[in-house]
């Protein structure tokens, strides 16, 4: 009962949302055996950038009604150290594929982000050298240095960037769309037109929280990064609408995510057209959530 996705063979339909599961940290916390019974059918890395980033100053988290706002700020070691240090430690992951079937290797999907076609080109070129990377997820929620808007928010701008970078990789290219846009389906169409092999959505919704007032002073943002991204159950109905709109308009496979907590939620995204479903915030509440959902699907 394996699943085909962009030419990859997966143990089941459930993967992780980028930045919501650290396989290396998880093995430190839960033991090395985890590698042999990995909860996700594919492992998506945290967003990797050309240069190392330390991320935003704390506080980075705010709990909202049925959701979480994060302002992590994409901390990562930078492309070079990711490829050198992390990649070797991510080999050999296996996912149970239900019943007594032999476990299936977990392909690695490296999520990258750059603020220009040139930066993305350099990221793709470097990944191209590593057979261990099975596919690329391109995070286009990166603010354009010129306009300040996400490069993925405008279909034309997105198509232009993608046309420029698409030839640089022979690996399946999945575009992680931004939900903070007027017409996410038009963005998905642009990605398809530019040669994307798949799209994934939704990323977090732009959100904000203020620090609880302690004295009569002026209000200050709670998050070190000022604004953050909303995830979890409170965005699930928005995710369902966006995934449905996208799946209706593109023929490439869709990875649906946003607030999935149960097999029922995953099934709903599949029902509206997703091929795979990613679990993000719910893994924080229970690291085994994805495994339970995969088993119950």
């Amino acid at each position: 009962m394996t699943v085909e996705f962009c030419g990859l063979t997966l143990a089941h339909r459930i993967i992780n949302g980028s930045g919501t599961f650290d396989a290396i940290a998880a093995r430190a916390a839960f033991g090395e055996a985890l590698a042999g019974e990995f909860p996700f059918a594919a492992y998506v890395s945290k967003t990797i950038t050309l240069e190392p980033r330390v991320g935003n100053p704390p506080p980075r988290l705010w709990e909202s009604a049925g959701g979480l706002i994060n302002s992590i700020g994409l901390p990562n070691k930078g492309l070079e150290r990711y490829l050198e240090e992390d990649l070797p430690r991510l080999s050999g992951l296996l996912a149970p594929s239900g019943g007594s079937a032999t476990p299936i290797p977990v392909p690695l999907i490296t999520n990258v982000m750059g603020s220009s076609a040139e930066e993305i080109t350099r990221l793709l070129d470097a990944c191209e050298q590593h057979a261990q990377i099975a596919a690329i997820e391109l995070n286009v929620s990166c603010p354009n240095v010129k306009t300040g808007l996400d490069i993925g928010a405008d279909p034309r701008a997105l198509e232009e960037v993608l046309r420029a970078v698409r030839p640089r990789t022979s690996k399946p290219l999945i575009v992680k769309l931004t939900p903070n846009t007027a017409d996410v389906a038009a963005c998905a169409q642009a990605a398809q037109a530019a040669g994307a092999d798949g799209v994934s959505l939704i990323n977090t919704l732009r959100a904000m929280a203020l620090a609880p007032r302690t004295r009569a002073g002026s209000a200050t943002p709670w998050l070190g990064g000022v604004t953050g991204g909303l995830s979890g159950p409170s965005i699930r109905a928005v995710a369902l609408a966006q995934v449905a709109a996208v799946a209706e308009r593109v023929s490439i496979p869709v990875v649906g995510m946003g607030g999935v907590q149960s097999a029922r939620h995953a099934r709903e995204l599949i029902d509206v057209g997703a091929t795979l479903v990613a679990v993000g915030t719910e893994s924080f509440r229970d690291p085994a959530a994805a495994a339970k959902i995969a088993a119950a699907l």
């Binding site: 998880a26 704390p58 893994s283 085994a288």
Partner: protein, 265 residues
């Protein structure tokens, strides 16, 4: 031993009031033996949500205060919707628990005398430390007031300080630490408590070249290194994840203890 890779539904076996705090006992016979300084991510199985601001939603971190005969003990202070809900639980109620998680305290270098220093609800991990590793350590505990100072009953042979003088020494517990270090500087400090207290401990220990292990706090979404939400600045740049690189962190790794990195007072 590492934690089981899933949250577990456990049963509350007893809840006792200890001054301003509750001591909750939870049957957890199959868990690996927790080490002093480790914590669990806890949430009520029923009705986790629907409180102030339609919260809580995420699980909350709690130091394992004690682990005896297959039961974990937690010391709880009601400071918001999550702790309020947990404080409501009674024997028989179900609890989600993930853990034990995090880097524990480590035994002192040969010859150094241990001082345990706790503030407020931050005294919790010192109890299991006293139980397991450091039975003969001096124990200095500080509290805001007399109601909270009754929490000192969690440990044996504690010297108590209160901000309002209602019990024990009238002043900061770090004053007591300075006295102790004056009488015998060859010590190692294990501390957990409010950020301001930990920062004071850090600076006293830095000045006196006393090694110190600080159990920090930080708002956590996951507790196992997945979200990168629980960070504190590391001396020399970058950040440490409190859940993975801590909660027990060598004071030398920190430039200072920031506002959000401690327990409630």
């Amino acid at each position: 031993m590492s934690a089981p890779f899933a949250r577990r539904a456990l049963t509350v076996t007893a809840v006792q009031q200890l001054g301003a705090y509750s001591v909750m006992r939870v049957a957890d016979p199959d868990a690996p033996e927790p080490q002093a300084g480790q914590f669990s991510m806890l949430a009520a199985v029923e009705r986790w949500g629907g409180g102030e601001g339609e919260r809580p939603f995420l699980a909350r971190a709690f130091s394992i205060a004690r682990h005896l005969q297959g039961e974990s003990h937690y010391l709880l202070e009601d400071v918001g919707p999550g702790t309020r809900r947990l404080c409501e639980l009674r024997a028989g109620d179900q609890l989600w628990s993930l853990g034990p998680l995090g880097r524990p305290f480590t035994t002192p270098a040969e010859g150094r005398r241990a001082i345990l220093l706790g503030g407020g609800v931050g005294i919790a991990p010192l109890a299991i430390l006293q139980d397991t590793l450091l039975e003969d350590a001096s124990v200095l505990l500080g509290f805001r007031d007399g109601e909270r100072a009754r929490g000192a009953g969690l440990l044996r042979d504690a010297r108590v300080a209160t901000d309002d003088g209602s019990l024990g020494y009238h002043g900061l517990v770090t004053d007591l630490l300075e006295q102790e270090l004056q009488s015998d500087a060859h010590a190692v400090v294990y501390a957990c408590g409010p950020a301001a207290m930990l920062e004071r401990v850090r600076s006293i220990c830095a000045e006196t070249h006393t090694p110190a292990q600080l159990a920090l706090e930080a708002a956590m979404a996951c507790g196992f290194g997945a979200c990168y939400g629980c960070v504190v600045p590391r001396r020399g740049g970058g950040y440490l994840r409190v859940c993975l690189d801590g909660p027990v962190i060598d004071a030398a790794e920190l430039e200072r203890v920031e506002e959000h990195a401690g327990a409630s007072a």
